[in-house]
Structure formats: C-alpha cells, structure tokens
C-alpha cells in the first residue's frame, strides 16, 4: 500500500528565485502583458491598473521591502526543501500546469499525465535570452537530464482515473526538443534538489479556455488520485506537490488568504466555492494547489503555512502573491 506522507505547495515564479535587482525586469513584462486579470474578474491594461491602484501598494515598492521579500521567499523555499529531505519520500506526484511548453493549439488536453519511464528536462539557461530576467531565474528549473518517472504507479493512476470517469490524456514519451515545463522543473530542482527520486507528473490546463478544468473538478481529481495511490500495491511513501500560483500577475492578497484558509481548514465546501471566474491567467495555477488539497483531504496530514508574501513589483499593483505551505 502506497501512502501519501507529505504535501507541498510552492509558488514557482521566476520572481521567487531571482534577486530584487531583477524585479523591475519582471515588472517590465507586466507593462505590455495581456494577461492582467483584475479583482473585478476582467482584463486590464497595466496603465488602467495604475490609475486605480491602492496608494498603499506603491508605498511598498522600496528596496528594503524587496530585500525582505526576497529573503522570505528564499527562506520559505529552503524550508520546504529541508522538509522534503527529512521526509525523503520514494516518489513525488507533481501537479503543474503547462504554458505553451508541451501543449499547443494542435492538441491541448484538459488533464494529462505522463507515464513514460523518464521525462526529459531542458537546459533553460541556454534557451533564455541573454541578460534576461528569465536567464537569471533559469537555474531554479533544473538541468538538462532525464528525470525518472514512477511509470507503473502513473499508469495505475491513469487506469483508476478512467474507472472513476476522468477523461485523462496520457503521455508516454516526449518529442525531440521537448522537455518538462517550468512547473515540474521547479519542484524537481528547487524542492527535490535534482535528486534521482522518481516523479509522477499531472498536467492541468489551468490557463487556456475553453477546456480548463473547474475548481470542483480539480478537487475531485485530487481525491481520485489519492484513492488510486492508496490502492497501489507497492509500499511507497508518496509526496504530493502543487507547483505555481498564487495570484499573479495582479496581486490579490485577500483572495490568496481565502484560498490558503480553505486549504488549511480542509473545508471542501469552501474549497469548491473558490471562484472559477477569478482563476484566470497566473491565478489559475491555484488549481494545482486545489488538486493537491483534494489529494490530502482524506489523509491525516495537516496544513502549515510557511509563508505568504504579497510581492508587488510595479506601481500598477502587479507582481505575485507567493505561497509556500506543507501538509504533514
């Protein structure tokens, strides 16, 4: 019997792994971004947001604040990494999204699982443009190598999900020049320290309409995956990890806190009521957390918030609400 012994939730933005000197460069992306989804659940331009921003936000855009935020995010990720090393699970089920990395308009799954023997990771450093903020962040998404996958468990989960009426897309291999997306590379590198521990990747289309799974569906998916894990006949100690979120690129501290509170309380009613129509753009990665919330729902694991940092990076209130938590 496999057993879920640890849950992890971690933001994975380039901003959480770069020094504050790069924050203005990250903010530059927001200025021309078409993915700024406001608290009013509508698209905005950066200029629009700037007009209506809370003055308290602009007061936070100081070097001291940024230094403090950087220290806290780094400390939080380090703490999760230490915890991972203490628990030393046999396998890590990673729930992440794909941002035009593996999936494109020629075939965009809603929910997918990789179940080949190994999943390739790419060299993000070489791929990123020179002197870019992405290059500065690239170290945190792993090195070019084949990451082992717990293929038998993954296939077992797929079979069980089909029985539970999930219409799962499956990936047995990647094509040449393809590699795992940033959501997976981040956990493999930054939490698992590029260990040889096998993973089971669960890929959600959180971002792209019209087939992003709903909050409810994600929670149910998590519950069904947990059931399949516990039904697996090998004695494996399993870590489940959510990669990404929370709110970005428009920071929504109050809403992020509501997500964290619902997860902490394991209140499935509150979790399922989290607003689908706000989970758009980067916010949508919260669905990865909700799926992991479903996985731990029926375990004895308890939620601990390591830190939450509303990390503003521009005078339009853009940036990210970075969350770091575990279930133990």
């Amino acid at each position: 019997m496999a057993k879920i012994v640890l849950g992890i939730g971690s933001s994975h933005s380039p901003m959480v792994v770069t020094e504050p000197e790069w924050y203005p460069a990250h903010a530059q992306r927001d200025v021309r971004s078409r993915e700024l989804w406001g608290l009013d659940k509508a698209h905005h331009t950066w200029e629009d947001l700037k007009q209506t921003v809370d003055p308290k936000v602009t007061a936070l855009l100081t070097k001291d604040k940024w230094d403090e935020h950087h220290e806290r995010t780094t400390a939080a990720i380090n703490q999760l990494e230490r915890l991972y090393n203490e628990v030393k699970p046999d396998v890590v089920v990673i729930v992440g999204d794909d941002q035009e990395e593996l999936f494109h308009e020629d075939n965009m799954p809603s929910i997918a699982m990789f179940y080949g023997e190994k999943m390739h990771n790419l060299n993000y450093y070489d791929k990123a443009p020179r002197d870019s903020s992405f290059k500065a962040a690239s170290w945190a998404y792993g090195v070019q190598r084949d990451v082992p996958v717990q293929s038998d468990l993954a296939e077992h989960i797929i079979r069980e999900l089909v029985k539970a009426e999930f219409d799962i897309t499956r990936l047995k291999y990647l094509r040449e020049n393809q590699g795992m997306g940033h959501a997976f590379g981040f956990i493999v590198k930054r939490i698992m320290g590029d260990a040889e521990t096998p993973i089971v990747p669960v890929l959600l289309n959180t971002y792209y309409p019209p087939n992003s799974p709903s909050v409810k569906r994600c929670f149910k998916l998590g519950e069904a995956i947990a059931e399949a894990i516990e039904d697996w006949d090998k004695d494996l100690r399993v870590c489940v990890a959510a990669s990404g979120g929370l709110s970005h690129f428009v920071v929504a501290e109050e809403w992020d806190r509501a997500v964290l509170k619902a997860l902490e309380k394991k209140d499935d009613g509150d979790i399922k009521r989290l607003p689908d129509d706000w989970m758009v753009s980067g916010n949508s990665e919260i669905k990865n957390w909700i799926t992991v919330g479903g996985m731990v729902q029926h375990t004895k694991l308890e939620f601990t918030l390591v830190d939450y940092i509303a990390n503003y990076r521009s005078e339009a209130g853009t940036g990210g609400g970075w969350g770091f938590a575990y279930w133990k």
């Binding site: 999936f103 079979r159 799962i168 897309t169 047995k172 291999y173 019209p210």
Partner: protein, 349 residues
C-alpha cells in the same frame, strides 16, 4: 436551442468500398493481424483461431454470399445518405476514433474536440500499380486534397459546456501538416505500433461519413474524437453514453436554433466477428436499453470492436429518437471467423 433531428450509426470498414469479389484478397492481411481477440479478450494468432473455429465458418466465404452481403451493406449506406438529404440538418456532430492517424502516445487524449474552422483532407499516396481494390478503398474515405467545413462556434461551445459538466475534453483548433509517432505497448496492444511522420489530414472515421453518407451534399462537421482503441485511457462504454447525453443536454441550451444530426462512425465488431455482441447492441439501440450498452465488459470492447463506443455516444445523444436497423451483416471473411459485423442504423423522431 439546437435540436437533434437525426442519428446515424455506420460502420466505416474499407470492405464497404469494395464489392464482394475483392473481399478474399482483402482478407489476406488477417493472417498477420495481431489484434485477433476472443470475446474474453485473449489475443490468438490467425492459425489458433482457425483451429478453434473447427470449420464452423466454412462456406461463409463463398463469392455469392459476399456479394449478397456487400449489396446489403450498400443498401444501408444508401438509406442513410437519402435520409440525411431529406432531413437536411444544419450541422453534423460525428463521434469517431483515431487509429494511428493524428493521435499518438506523446499526447493521447481520451476525448478530443476539433474547434478549427476548416478540416483539412489530404490525398494519401497510393502506388500507381496498386490493385484496383486498393484504389477504391482510398476513394471511399475521400482521396483528394481539399477541406471540409466545421462549425467552430458550436465546437467551442460544446467543449465549454462539457468541461463545465465534468468532462475532461482535449481541444484543438489546428491540424498539423505531418503526423507520426508510436502507440503502445499497453493492454492488448503488446507491441509498439510505429507510424512514420507523413502528411495526414482528418482520419478515416470522419472521411467515411463525409464521402459515403454526405456524398456531394456536405454538412459542416463537428468532430468529437474518442480514443476507443488504445489502452489505458479508453473511455468506458458508460462514459461514452454519458458523453452523448451531455452533448444532447448542451445542444438543448445552445443559443442558436440549429438542426443537428449526430453520427457514430466505426464498428461494429472487428477484426473478429462478435455477432452476439453486435446483435445485443443493435437491439439495445432499438429498445432504448441503456444498461446493456453501459455494461458491455471492457475486454469485449477492444481493438476495432471498441469503435462501438462511437455508436453508444451517438445513441446517448439521439436517445429521444427511435432507432431502426437498416442493415447488419456479420462478414466472416476467413475460416478463422475474422472480418467484421457491419451495421447501419438510423435514428429518427
């Protein structure tokens, strides 16, 4: 509010494009087929099937019998074609499957909806010196380069609506120019199926409906692709039925008064004839016996027999209409009992 005005269940075997005199040469491939499954799901070789059959299918390969069977299948196809013209729907939703055409194990969805505007059809190369029956097969699926119209608004709406009702639909709006890859091993597919990269438009399941049922009077087509064939993520028959029912419900709340035909393409049993299952399914369509359809055992719904899922989905969508079996022919094209149960069903009010 859209309305389902007609349902179609049609086999789409290459045999339906070639008269009975070509069936014996066509059947020669069966001795190499690795998908000759028993009703219990065991894979046997051709010779093992011959031995098990112990002569009980002898005589069914007579030319005259084949010709009669061929004529009856063509009758079924003509009836569907004529009814479709008469009903004259605005759009057709086709449940089909993909067999090593555009879906491979690098990204193999259980259910996928195409939401682009144009559906490309590509000519597939057939050698000049190929036998005439091979050329006829090519023509039977639409063998020239052109494109068909889809209904992208409806396709997107169905994807949204199904996603809201808890289906996990893959969505695509673009056909690539080349496709290739591998499938398996998994389940009854105990080897690696390899397809070299080659130009490929939409698949045989849709080509047959366009070329043989619509003929020259094309209706915009929304493609809903089920992975019926390849483990481990084939939707169950029950899931296929529920999908059809959810499509029906979605259409009923669509904002446009389009008249919709639904079609299930493929099946029934092949490449081993399972006449008992075929007749049970046909009866269930007529009798509105959802439980029979939903409870077909998994091991009996593999290889191309699995395409019955497309019919079950179409039936779920056309459930308010009444089914009529236009033709059914269990064609045992070899002494092993290999071949197919070719069926044609029409649902009308």
């Amino acid at each position: 509010m859209a309305k389902i005005v007609m349902g179609i269940g049609t086999s789409h075997s290459p045999m339906l494009a070639i008269p009975g005199e070509y069936w014996t040469p066509y059947a020669q491939g069966d001795s190499r087929n690795r998908e000759l499954l028993t009703v219990k799901g065991e894979t046997l070789t051709y010779d093992e099937h011959v031995a098990r059959s112990a002569g009980k299918h002898d005589g069914q390969q007579a030319l005259e019998h084949f010709q009669k069977q061929y004529e009856n299948t063509q009758h079924g196809i003509r009836e569907l074609r004529d009814s479709l013209r008469q009903v004259n729907p605005d759009v057709m939703v086709v449940f089909g499957d993909d067999q090593d055409e555009i879906m491979f194990d690098d990204n193999h969805p259980a259910i996928a909806i195409y939401g682009g505007a144009e559906i490309p059809q590509l000519a597939r190369p057939i050698a000049e010196d190929a036998p005439e029956w091979r050329k006829m097969i090519g023509r039977g699926y639409g063998h020239d380069t052109r494109s068909m119209q889809s209904d992208p608004k409806l396709a997107r709406y169905l994807t949204e609506s199904l996603t809201d009702s808890g289906f996990d639909i893959a969505f695509f709006t673009k056909y690539n120019e080349q496709y290739g890859g591998t499938i398996g091993p998994s389940g009854y597919v105990n080897w690696v199926r390899t397809t070299k990269e080659r130009p490929q438009g939409y698949g045989h399941a849709y080509g047959f409906v366009s070329e043989r049922i619509m003929e020259d009077k094309k209706v915009p087509m929304v493609q809903i692709n089920l992975n019926t064939c390849y483990p481990p993520n084939q939707p169950s028959p029950r899931r296929a039925f529920e999908l059809g029912q959810a499509v029906k419900a979605a259409l009923e709340s669509y904002d446009s008064n389009v008249r919709v035909a639904v079609a299930g393409s493929g099946g029934l049993s092949h490449f081993m004839v399972d006449e008992e299952l075929d007749r049970q399914m046909l009866n269930a369509f007529v009798e509105h016996d959802a439980e029979m359809l939903c409870n077909i055992p998994y091991e009996r719904m593999n290889s191309a027999t699995s395409e019955g899922r497309n019919w079950i989905a179409a039936a779920g969508a056309a459930w308010d209409l009444n089914a009529e079996v236009l033709a059914y022919e269990p064609v045992r094209r070899t002494p092993a009992g290999s071949g197919g149960g070719w069926g044609f069903v029409r649902w009308l009010p």
